[in-house]
Amino acid sequence: MYLGKVIGTVVATQKYEGLEGKKLLVVTPLDHKLARTGADQVAVDTVRAGHGDLVYLVGSREAALALDPWFVPVDAAIIGIVDDVHAPANGARK
């Protein structure tokens, strides 16, 4: 699991079965200092996140397990909206 920031949305009319009605968001993956750790990615939203939200995601096969139905081709899912990042050593805050 990892942190990310929602920076946009993706609209796709033709989707694999099981993905109808799922919201797709563009997310920048971040570390705990809120520094970018990799390329932007598209993730399925399960928590009604919105543009600009700091969120956390799960990747790999576990991403699909956050959805219902779960046997869908998804490899990143937003599973929480972050209220606060508390990392005392570097004072990182949201």
Binding site: M1, G38, H86
Partner: protein
Amino acid sequence: MKLCRVEGSVTATVHHPTFDGRKLLIVQPVDETGRAVGDSFLAVDLVQAGAGDTVLVNQEGNGARQLLKLGAQVPIRSLIVGVVDAVDHE
């Protein structure tokens, strides 16, 4: 399993139901000397770890599902499964 240092915690009121009541910590992978290697990530704590602790992190979904015993549909991938007392190395 990965050797990591706990950097802090993350709070999230809105989350997937499997995360109800679970403590989510920020872990930074480290080498045997304690030097950071790679990017930090988040892990669910099972062993009452805290900031500054060196911990063992199981970063693999099937292991997580077996440990949590919540059935097959658990979107949790990383678990803190041990607090490290000492690392001996050459």
